[in-house]
Assembly symmetry: C2
Homo-oligomer: 195 residues x 2
DNA sequence: TTTACAACCTACCTATCGGTCGGTTAGAAT
DNA sequence: ATTCTAACCGACCGATAGGTAGGTTGTAAA
């Protein structure tokens, strides 16, 4: 057989890239097909329709990518510094294009949550996983933290601020505002410690 | 004359509502026309094309709405408490629909910044105006604040977190996560004070 | 009363979208 | 060598989008 799995994977990866750049709705199948050098028949052989392709991208590309990205940041001895280094590395090392494209999770949340229940539930699930990952690791070092904090609330706030910062950098089209907000986010995170 | 200005205003207001609910691209002119009970010819008499209609909505509806919303929150004697009360009122008084639709500025920033320069510049301008509004008023009470803070950085962070919280509430489809993040945001804002 | 033009109407245009369907082809199994 | 089917192809479809053009109407000014 012609390597079906390779075709499927190529479609998924290029779709993930296109969706990241243009959003789900604005991403046209014809554009994906052109980049993949694959026919429409091939795509519809592997995926029932555009929505199912979107779900597959979310589950098979974005979800593992996300967990692999955040886990090391937070599963170190000191999650406070781990998070700060993670965010700092983002504006120091990330290319401007990457930053301006925003976080795929946040982008899809904004675009699709209200109009498609399948996306909404997948996004909500991812957000809860991410929240638990962060809050469990903050809880782990609770003895070092101020006693007036609610770790789950803090975890949601951190993610929200991060997403807000990537939104800001879209309109400025450079890293400056992103960097500003991330710096303040790090300052906030460090203030969680007993001072 | 048949009241041209009234027609124009009706188109603007209904467009603002539709764009808030569906986003700019997903908002169809035919849908606007149906709600306005106005013909396509009338719309194209008042606006050159869809993009120009979008710009007009941004400038004539969203911009003044935004300034009227944030100004009173921050131009009180105590902007720290002013902001906290403003945010708190948002989840206590705001309808669930309103909250789940998100902030129009953030929505358009996410959707349009990358694909249309006209929108991007208008959004950036609005964000800078908003930042100045907040940072000037924080500066005003600088003597009450910690001396390690950068008011502009703090102002961007506040707006980013607020936008991030509205993004979160979209996927949860209720106010719970919104409320959580807003509470933490208020806690953060109050910690700006010398303790 | 006539004129002139802003204001408005409607039928139509083209482009593009997601999706379908009948047919072809590669290659493993018999 | 033949058969069978997963894998793939591409012309075509209907729906809808934004946009246009030519005609009509209301009304203020001359």
């Amino acid at each position: 057989m012609r390597d079906a799995e390779l075709t499927r994977q190529k479609i998924l990866e290029i779709s993930a890239d296109e969706i990241h750049k243009n959003g789900f709705i604005a991403t046209s199948l014809s554009c994906i097909l052109a980049r993949c050098e694959v026919s429409k028949g091939a795509l519809y052989h592997h995926f029932k329709n555009k929505m199912e392709l979107g779900y597959a991208v979310f589950e098979e590309i974005y979800t593992p990518m996300f967990l692999e990205l955040w886990q090391p940041a937070v599963e170190v001895e000191d999650p406070i510094e781990g998070l700060c280094e993670f965010f700092t590395a983002m504006y120091e090392e990330g290319s401007c294009d990457e930053i301006v494209c925003g976080c795929p999770l946040n982008n899809l949340c904004q675009e699709m949550s209200a109009i498609d229940e399948g996306f909404r539930l997948r996004i909500l699930n991812m957000q809860q996983q991410l929240n638990q990952l962060i809050s469990l690791n903050l809880q782990r070092v609770a003895s070092q933290l101020r006693d007036d904090i609610d770790v789950s609330q803090v975890a949601y706030f951190i993610v929200a601020s991060f997403h807000g910062s990537s939104s800001l950098s879209k309109s400025s089209k450079n890293k400056d505002l992103f960097e500003k907000v991330i710096k303040e986010l790090c300052s906030y995170i460090r203030h969680l410690r007993i001072s």
